[in-house]
Every structure is written in structure tokens, then in C-alpha cells.
């Protein structure tokens, strides 16, 4: 890796919330803070590397058990506090994503990281289905189980149009080994087969993204960048509030209709058979 994972996430968390410290009682790997966005208050969440983590396999920006339960803890708190509020008043939840992967460790497997990740995904999805706008801002890496735990349940996903933004199921070296290709072959294949690509512009072709954001250098947000991103987040929040709280928007964009047409056809066929059964 040419760049440390998590620096971008931390930079944008700080830029948008004015805070860079974990909450009391939280591990050093999770940042959670409320801040204004437009004319309302949102909860921002970010997972960052911490060399002092008591779980060694998360120290480089991976998402492990503590991170997952801490995210779920903050999400469920807001969910409970806003339960009686009308949907227009439920606080937006903003995941700033820059994660290397899930944690690959024996401690994690023993204590059930699959379940911790599930609890976090549950909290994000439950908040979304209750009417909270859930927005993901991908500032750097969004890999595999790390992204499933933190960010992939959002109603709207935004990402910087930048070569340092990588969204994928597995990092290049491992994916090359498992699919029995060289890294060069894998990169070549990504240009032809968009779901395999490591380039965020190819990811945008899948129809899963709400918007690509343009800033000069995502590592160093300027005042103008921050204002522009706040504006984009506010737009995404309003857009999320207008539509269904499920993930259907990921199948409705023009890009999705092109790239995901096999999946869309399968859904239609299954529905027709179900209704006629």
C-alpha cells in the first residue's frame, strides 16, 4: 500500500465535525460525533487505525469486533432517541469510509467477528428502514467485510473521484492468487469487466453510487472542498428522505439498468413466477 489507510477518513471526519477524538468509553479506532449539516444535526461515524488497539489485527485500519459493536452502539442510541420523531426529524447518519478490510485474526474468529459485523450492519439497516437517512462518504478504501460492516447499508453512497478511492471485495494480491491470475492480468480484466475493476469510475458504472465528488486532493480538504461536500451530503440526505428506505435506488439508476440487467431480469422473472404459483 502506497498510502496509509485511514488518513483520509480521519481528515474528512475532522473537516466535517471539527472533532478528531474518540468518545469516552470508545476504543481509539472509532470516531463518533454529531455536527451540523444544512440546518440539522447528523451523527458522523468513522473507523480509523489505532496502533494501540487491544486487538492486534485491526491496528492498520481494519474493522474488527470492537469497531463493529461501537458503531452499532452509537447507531442504536440515535435510533432509540429518535424513535418517536417524525421521519423528517430523524437524524441523518453519515459513515465516512476509509477501511482496509475486516480484521483477519484468530481472536476475531474465536469471538465471532461475523456476528459483530452483522450487529453493525443490522443497526445501520434498521436505522435506514426506520427513516434515518444513511449516507456513506467513501474517502479512501472500502473493502470487503470492512465495508459491509461500515457503510454498505446506506441509502446513498458518495465517493471521491480519485485514484486513491478503491471499492472492492478483496485486495488485488489476494484476488489475483485466488482467481489464479497475475496482478497485471487482473487489472487488465477490470477494464473489460466493470465489477472486477479497482477503479472508482468503473465502480460508478455499476449503478450503486449516488454521486462521484470532485475535489483536488482528498487527503487535504480545503475550506471550499468542505463546503462543497457538505452541500452534496445535504442533497443526498434530502434525496434519501424522498424515496423508499430500502436499497431499491441501487437498481433504478441508468447505470444499474445497463450493468445489472441480468439481476434485474431475475428479480422480474421470480416475481412473475411467485405471483402465478
Amino acid at each position: 500500500m502506497s498510502e496509509h489507510i485511514g488518513l483520509r477518513g480521519r481528515a474528512w471526519f475532522e473537516a466535517l465535525t471539527g472533532n478528531n477524538q474518540p468518545s469516552s468509553g470508545d476504543p481509539g479506532t472509532v470516531l463518533a460525533s454529531e455536527a451540523q449539516i444544512g440546518d440539522e444535526t447528523a451523527l458522523f461515524l468513522c473507523v480509523v487505525p489505532s496502533p494501540a488497539s487491544r486487538f492486534p489485527c485491526v491496528r492498520d485500519g481494519q474493522v474488527g469486533i470492537e469497531e463493529a459493536f461501537t458503531l452499532a452502539h452509537h447507531l442504536r442510541r440515535v435510533l432509540a432517541e429518535d424513535r418517536e420523531k417524525p421521519k423528517a426529524k430523524k437524524r441523518p447518519l453519515i459513515a465516512i469510509v476509509d477501511v482496509k478490510s475486516q480484521a483477519y485474526g484468530r481472536r476475531e474468529e474465536t469471538a465471532g467477528i461475523f456476528f459483530a459485523a452483522a450487529a453493525s450492519a443490522d443497526a445501520y439497516a434498521s436505522a435506514r428502514m426506520a427513516g434515518h437517512p444513511v449516507i456513506s462518504l467513501i474517502a479512501g478504501h472500502a473493502f470487503s467485510g470492512g465495508f459491509l460492516t461500515h457503510g454498505y447499508q446506506a441509502n446513498r453512497i458518495l465517493a471521491f473521484d480519485d485514484s486513491g478511492v478503491v471499492i472492492h471485495a478483496m485486495h488485488k494480491e489476494a484476488a489475483a492468487r485466488i482467481t489464479r491470475r497475475s496482478v497485471a492480468e487482473l487489472e487488465e480484466l477490470g477494464h473489460e469487466i466493470s465489477p472486477m475493476s479497482y477503479d472508482v469510475r468503473d465502480y460508478a458504472k455499476l449503478g450503486l453510487l449516488y454521486k462521484l465528488l470532485h475535489v483536488d486532493d482528498p487527503k487535504h480538504p480545503t475550506i471550499a472542498d468542505i463546503e462543497a461536500v457538505r452541500h452534496d451530503l445535504a442533497d443526498a440526505i434530502q434525496d434519501a428522505r424522498r424515496e423508499a428506505p430500502d436499497l431499491s435506488s441501487r437498481l433504478q439508476s441508468d447505470a444499474a439498468k445497463q450493468t445489472r440487467k441480468a439481476g434485474i431480469a431475475v428479480r422480474a422473472a421470480l416475481e412473475a413466477q411467485w405471483r402465478n404459483a
Partner: protein, 290 residues
């Protein structure tokens, strides 16, 4: 004494693990009530595999069967571990979410329809990488949309086990049923050894793998609900009990504070002993219907 009583039970029983995904799913339903949707004759195959010189399969390794279990509406969705390791691609993922969403629509309209996920999978299909990962996120969302209205039961029989992103789908299920031959975890032993080194996880250490990922351990530590024998009749009876069970007010993956405290109490200065963890977390007998 009649001849039959001399034949031990394990000889006469029908093994569930020996069945393929389709026959496993069929075996759960009341006789004569089931129908496969999106079957092989509908030719729903991956558009991405042939582009990479890999033969697709007409069901994309995902079998959807709808019918009645114990007289109640249900849909079973099975991943076939023998096809591409049971991996989730665009088409198999779409079959799964579509079936879950249709069960949710029927349930909300007053016809409670349980879903049974038969998961034998290594997770995301790397040849469809980002569409597989997106499919997993959508499956999780659809499980959660159905769960308040009807039971979602994950059945992991083995021997592939349930790993990768689909382990999160198991994690958010209403109930998880496993055999001793089944494994459940986010990262398989080979992946951990590759990423973190053999000192972290020796993937040739079979005893270690079963002690951590095995069905007996997962049920014992309370992250799965029932341990069943590899016996098709017994598995069918267990699934039927959960299909008929009353909906719960709180599901395991909502018990964030309980598990956050448990994790906070763990000594992580060395590896965690699976047996001690099981003793510490187990608050009930295994196989008990909650």
C-alpha cells in the same frame, strides 16, 4: 426381536449432508407442496463467468423453492456449495433478495412466509467481485426487512460451511441451525493464514478450526441456536419448529450492549481459548427453542 431393531440408527437415517442443494431444500417441505422458482429451465445464468472462460450454470448455484412447512407458507433458498464454492454473484444474489422480498411482501399482506437460507458458501464470487459484494449487502437488508414479519432461519449443514459476507446474513437471521460438520465464520483459516501469517492461524490445524468455527462451538457459545444431527428427518423437524415459532421481540444481532460488554471483558493479550469463551457466554442449554 425383529430384524430392524438390530440395525443402528445411523445406517437407516437419510444423511442431509450427502444431498445436493436442491434436494436439501426440497426435503424441508411438506410432501407435494413445493415448487421451484427460477429453476434450471429458466436459464438464469451469470453473464460474467463466460467472459472469463468459466462455464456458468443454469441456476447460478442458487435454488429457490416455495411451498409449505408444517402447513405454513415458506421459501427455501439454497446455495449449492459444489458450484463455484457456493459463491454469491449477481444472479444468485438477485434470486436470494427477490425471494426474501417476495416473502416479506406476502408476510406484510397477512400471509406469513418464513424463509430458510441453506448456506454453503465461501462468500463473494471474486469473478463478479463488486456485484457480489453489493449482492451480499442487499441480502442482509432483505433478511432484516423480512425478520420482523416472519422467521428467517439459516441452516448450515456442511461441509463447505458459511464464510465471507454471507456469514453476516447468518448473523442477522432469526435463528441459526448447524450440524457438527458445519462451520461458520467471517474469514476461513486459509485466508487468515495468508493475510496474517501462520503464527496467527495454522490452517492445517483441524482441531483448532473445529474448536473455533464448528457448529458445536457456535451453538455452545450462543451465536447459533440449535445443533442437529446429520439426519434429514431430524433437520426437517427442527426447521419446522422454527418456521412455526412465534416472532421474537428482540433478535440476537440487536443485543449490542450485552455483546459489547462481553467483548470488553475479554483478555486479548493472547489468543482466546474457545472452550473458556463458550463457558463464559453460554447461558442456556443448546437446541432449546427460544
Amino acid at each position: 426381536m425383529s430384524q430392524t431393531t438390530l440395525i443402528p440408527e445411523f445406517v437407516t437415517r437419510q444423511s442431509f449432508i450427502e444431498l445436493d442443494g436442491r434436494r436439501r431444500a426440497q426435503s424441508l417441505f411438506d410432501e407435494g407442496t413445493w415448487k421451484e422458482l427460477g429453476g434450471p429451465f429458466d436459464r438464469m445464468e451469470s453473464p460474467w463467468l463466460p467472459l472469463q472462460g468459466i462455464a456458468p450454470q443454469f441456476d447460478d448455484g442458487c435454488i429457490v423453492i416455495r411451498g409449505k412447512i408444517g402447513g405454513m407458507a415458506a421459501v427455501a433458498i439454497a446455495l449449492e456449495g459444489a458450484f463455484q464454492g457456493g459463491s454469491i454473484g449477481e444472479v444468485s444474489g438477485a434470486k436470494m433478495t427477490a425471494a426474501l422480498d417476495l416473502a416479506a411482501q406476502d408476510s406484510q399482506a397477512g400471509k406469513r412466509t418464513a424463509a430458510i437460507l441453506l448456506l454453503e458458501t465461501g462468500g463473494v464470487r471474486l469473478q463478479e467481485a463488486n456485484l457480489g459484494l453489493a449482492a451480499v449487502a442487499e441480502v442482509i437488508s432483505s433478511v432484516l426487512a423480512l425478520r420482523p414479519h416472519a422467521p428467517v432461519i439459516t441452516l448450515i449443514a456442511g461441509t463447505v460451511g458459511c464464510f465471507g459476507g454471507m456469514s453476516l446474513a447468518a448473523g442477522v437471521s432469526s435463528y441459526v441451525v448447524m450440524t457438527r460438520e458445519a462451520r461458520l465464520g467471517l474469514n476461513g483459516p486459509e485466508v487468515i493464514e495468508q493475510e496474517s501469517g501462520i503464527d496467527e492461524f495454522d490452517s492445517s490445524d483441524r482441531a483448532l478450526i473445529w474448536a473455533i468455527h464448528g457448529g458445536e462451538q457456535r451453538v455452545g457459545m450462543g451465536l447459533a441456536d440449535a445443533l442437529v444431527e446429520d439426519d434429514a428427518d431430524k433437520i426437517k423437524a427442527t426447521i419446522r419448529r422454527y418456521v412455526q415459532a412465534e416472532l421474537r421481540l428482540e433478535y440476537r444481532s440487536q443485543q449490542v450492549e450485552l455483546y459489547r460488554d462481553r467483548i470488553a471483558a475479554l483478555d486479548t493479550s493472547g489468543q482466546i481459548d474457545p472452550m473458556s469463551l463458550r463457558r463464559g457466554w453460554n447461558s442456556r442449554k443448546t437446541g432449546e427453542l427460544r
